[in-house]
Symmetry: C2
């Protein structure tokens, strides 16, 4: 690989001149620009991005760590939509995306911290749904720009974040179900430690309260975001036949599919006897029988908004601030 030096020699100019023609923003006479470009072409020169990054202290890269910790992470639509939104804006704005893997929630934070601390990226997006106070604090204390996808812990109201309207959207779903005459509505929530699940649970309680409906603890279950978890929730929520739910809200479609299977096995007709609403509008939702009514969460738009917030901050050389709550949309199909 040739360097700026080689090109300079070839073109008969100083290396700094070569640097100037490649960095774009400098006054260079057309004649020398030509000479330099020609020399560069001959030597097949392209500036080394790493050297440039070290010098300008900017990598044109944003980091994200993906927590493929639960079964089905790469099957659910969350991940591809997240990447899609991130790539939409990083590409448009001339950035690249540095993706790190991890092997659990704790490690997710370690990896994110590592990307920040070692300056591998100009800023970082954190998607963890299990953020604790310390983690956010640690992430913030490197003053590299940081934006969360999801809500921050209450103590860190100052970090920038963007999220879906989990609480109110869930509340709306419950209201929708109540309007259709359901009184015993179950909530199948996924990982109980995740903040989304907590927000949705709040929305569930709010929706029930608003509709004047009592809540039985037996209706609240956690399917751990997996198909089998949804399946098992059927058994657990229907032990007392006289108190069995007539409607289920599941916090992702995978669990809704498990619920559907469990209900079908018991000969319970959906939506005839029991209504079912999933979340995420996964590719399979439209193709189930009955087609699954699902709460579509705008992950792609959320990811894009987060990336924009982050890049804005990077380019303005300040910590990102503010937050955005994007609206979900209930896709009504046949199951409810």
């Amino acid at each position: 690989m040739s360097t700026i030096r080689d090109v300079a020699a070839q073109a008969g100019v100083h290396p700094s001149t070569v640097s100037r023609v490649f960095s774009g923003n400098a006054q260079i006479s057309e004649a020398t620009r030509q000479r330099v470009m020609e020399a560069a072409r001959q030597l097949n020169f392209q500036p080394n991005a790493i050297a440039r990054s070290l010098s300008v202290r900017r990598t044109k890269t944003i980091g994200v760590v993906v927590p493929h910790v639960f079964d089905g992470y790469f099957v659910d639509s969350f991940f591809p939509q997240l990447m899609a939104g991130l790539l939409d804006v990083t590409y448009a704005r001339g950035y690249r995306l540095l993706v790190g893997g991890c092997n659990g929630y704790a490690d997710e934070h370690v990896q994110a911290l590592d990307i920040l601390a070692t300056h591998q990226a100009d800023g970082i997006l954190v998607t963890s749904s299990r953020l604790d106070v310390d983690t956010v604090g640690n992430l913030q204390c490197h003053n590299t720009p940081l934006v969360l996808i999801g809500h921050p812990p209450a103590q860190h109201a100052n970090v920038a974040w963007v999220d879906a309207d989990n609480r109110s959207a869930t509340q709306e779903v419950i209201a929708y179900l109540a309007r259709r005459g359901h009184r015993r509505i179950a909530y199948v929530g996924g990982d109980p430690d995740s903040s989304v699940v907590k927000e949705r649970l709040e929305g569930y309680y709010a929706g029930m309260a608003q509709a004047g409906l009592p809540v039985s603890e037996a209706w609240i279950d956690y399917g751990y975001f997996a198909e089998d978890g949804g399946y098992q929730a059927v058994e657990r929520t229907r032990r007392d036949a006289s108190n069995a739910p007539t409607a289920y809200y599941a916090a992702n479609d995978l669990m809704a599919i498990g619920l559907l299977r469990g209900l079908r096995e018991r000969g319970i007709d959906v939506p005839g006897e029991v209504a079912l609403v999933g979340t995420n509008d996964s590719p399979e939702a439209a193709h189930l029988t009955p087609a699954l009514t699902s709460l579509q969460v705008p992950y792609r738009a959320i990811a894009a908004a987060a990336a924009n917030l982050l890049i804005d901050a990077i380019e303005d050389e300040e910590q990102p601030t503010g937050h955005q709550l994007l609206a979900s949309c209930l896709i009504e199909r046949e199951s409810a």
Copy 2:
């Protein structure tokens, strides 16, 4: 941010000593290691990865550019499985993944070249299904390690690649259909310029020939990998009712879903009157009615194998060589 200098000052040693304790592989007395670590802790020091990269000429990053050019790219299971496989091995081997977007096939190659030329990554994975000779040549002439996911053009037999057994797997599917008594079998292929589609078409012809079946041009159609393309293929392939196919093989599930819709609209029963086989075993395949028989392509394993090949080459400081052909597996369900 503190640097190696600050830590050296604090610990009363030379900067090179600090470097040595952090680089791991150097003889350092336990006493000075302690002093250095303590100083680093106090100053919250972590080595700057960019500076290190410049010095060692290694980024511990591999690049990939994702071509979200066709409708449904982020819906199909190819993309998430690809990322899953890549993350599995990059994570395990201490690498990160640098992902670039692009806005079309031509740009895909520009981006890949850019990542290489600017040394942003130690090696690159190319997933393009529309590789031409020049592109591969250009990519190779930077002698950064390169591995293709998919077949190389014939002229570049020396690049390393890993792919699914597209040709023979498709041939097997045709044989399977022929064994079940089908004689008029259609091929709905996706983007005709993509190499996968060409390989599958070869497999189709081979399968038909092997079964002693004539092929009618009317049975070959391109759905451009989109649901609607599959839908439209129904009309085009059935103009001559007496020659209408009794079985369809579609090169992805999205198109198979479109075919299913088109057939249903015409009152044609699947699998009663017409058999249908898709490709990729997308999440929705199992949940369609009838459940879709689909050729499962081991994308995650392919991506993992490619990443391993690439990282092996990077660490051995040589161009990767060889290739791997991973077996697909027909998931038999109800549609065929």
